[in-house]
Amino acid sequence: MASYSTSEFKSGLKIMLDGDPCSIVENEFVKPGKGQAFNRVKIRNLKTGRVLEKTFKSGESVEAADVMDTEMQYLYNDGEAWYFMEPTTFEQLGADEKALGENLKWLKEQDMWVVTLWNNVPIAATPPNHVVLTVAETDPGVRGDTSGGGGKPATCDTGAVVRVPLFINEGEAIKVDTRTGEYVGRVKD
């Protein structure tokens, strides 16, 4: 089984930790002039997305994780899984609800997502930074209200709820930043 020594640690390296695939976010070599060396590492658990800190005694080895980020296109949902296609090989892989998590609300057919595969099984999926969604439901804008304060909530066709300006109507397409969940602008056909 492939493994890495702490001297190979760098950000982006994929390792196994307590049975879960993880990615190194930050690695710092710490050593007293005379004394034990350590690697202080920030690690993201790729299944839960949680970042944790761990200190390794330098010279330790850890198991490598067979993890790959692949750009894939979302095709359809069959009630159990959400299917993505690798655009050059046309290989299709189903991601479960756990892999999509919170991001599910941004998922629209034909969009290109980054799917994280562990042993060729999707464990996480990251939406593009911006997606275009259609407003399915929102209150009509109140005429004359120019306070511009908070806008209003709009429910999109994917289920995402986004705060939009008062002038946005049902059926309109809007651009949303998936990293912040914020409205970016109106999209005209």
């Binding site: 001297s7 002039g33 005379k34 390794f56 005694k57 010279g59 330790e60």
Partner: protein, 321 residues
């Protein structure tokens, strides 16, 4: 790394700062009649310290292995034994596997020895020199001179001399630090807490001298048989970075040989190379005057002066770029 970047990693301004600091250090020792010396980088013996690994090479097809020195200490002590009087040197030193934000496998060490001084008197001289080097670059608060025990008690409320391994582990856990691969070696846990908890808690923009180390971390320092016994060793920290390490030097050759042997047994247990002991140093020790000596990381001193937090930014070129 594409390898096609031929630019230095240090800016010209930083190289100028480095040159000014070296000039200042030379002037400091010239004014005190401390002799500048040079000792070999290649030697048949190397350091026995379990946590310092030497780079090894050969100087001819038929030669024994030789080691790139990790510090000029052994050779400088032989000069002292031969009657050199007070000496200093800028030395390039090499340490296998040490690479990080504050580490580069090849670096510059300033090392000096003062016959007749103990570690307290030498700390005052280090303080004077470092202040002269940094005065035009940063404003330093009044320096702190704390025993190892006090530094721990004041910054984290733990007594390093009474806490056993279980107590140290419990403290680490309570701090939310997750550790992998560390066995029950008491010193390793002390060093973990020192680097992770004590150093970051020390006062900022202050030269913090920490002295009288646990006996188990004596290295080449004299022991003082207090209760508990302590090693007459000090380290200097600034803004969480170790800048210097000094000893009231051990002059007892028998005790030094025993320490080398303990080191080598430990290296063997760790699966590391068992280094040849420097017999010439041991033969010279009885003639070495009572003295104190210290090593200062010159690159790190320049880092502080230049206000940068990566060693790469003070080196003209780095080995892995």
């Amino acid at each position: 790394m594409t390898g096609d970047n031929d630019q230095p990693t240090a800016s010209l301004a930083t190289l100028q700062t480095r040159a000014r600091i070296r000039k200042r250090i030379r002037a400091f020792f010239d004014a005190k009649n401390v002799l500048e010396v040079e000792t070999p980088i290649l030697a048949r013996a190397g350091v026995t310290d379990p946590h310092i690994d030497s780079l090894q090479t050969r100087w001819s097809d038929w030669s024994e292995p030789v080691y790139l020195q990790t510090s000029p200490e052994y050779a400088m002590k032989r000069l002292l034994a031969a009657g050199s009087g007070a000496i200093y040197q800028f030395s390039r030193v090499f340490r296998y596997g040490e690479r990080g934000r504050q580490h580069h496998p090849e670096f510059t060490m300033l090392e000096w020895y003062r016959p007749g001084y103990d570690h307290h008197r030498l700390m005052l001289e280090v303080d004077d020199l470092i202040r002269k080097c940094l005065s035009e670059h940063i404003k330093l608060e009044q320096s702190c001179f704390w025993s190892y025990q006090r530094a721990w008690q004041d910054s984290i409320g733990l007594d390093p001399f009474t806490a056993d391994v279980e107590g140290l582990k419990a403290f680490v856990k309570q701090q939310g630090i997750e550790v992998s691969g560390l066995d029950d070696d008491h010193d390793s846990w002390l060093q973990l807490i020192m680097t992770h908890c004590v150093e970051p808690a020390l006062p900022k923009n202050t030269l913090v001298f920490i002295y009288d180390f646990p006996a188990s971390q004596a290295a080449l320092a004299k022991m003082r048989h207090d209760a508990p016994p302590v090693a007459e060793r000090f380290e200097l920290f600034i803004n969480g970075m170790e800048l210097a390490n000094g000893f009231h030097e051990l002059t007892d050759a028998d005790e030094q040989r025993q320490r080398f042997e303990v080191d080598l047994r430990k290296r063997q247990q760790m699966g590391k190379a068992v280094m040849p002991v420097d017999e010439k140093l041991l033969a010279a020790l009885p003639a070495m005057p009572e003295c104190a000596g210290v090593a200062v990381g010159v690159d790190r001193l320049v880092m502080i002066a230049a206000g940068v937090d990566r060693i790469d930014a003070v080196l003209s070129f780095v080995v892995d770029e």
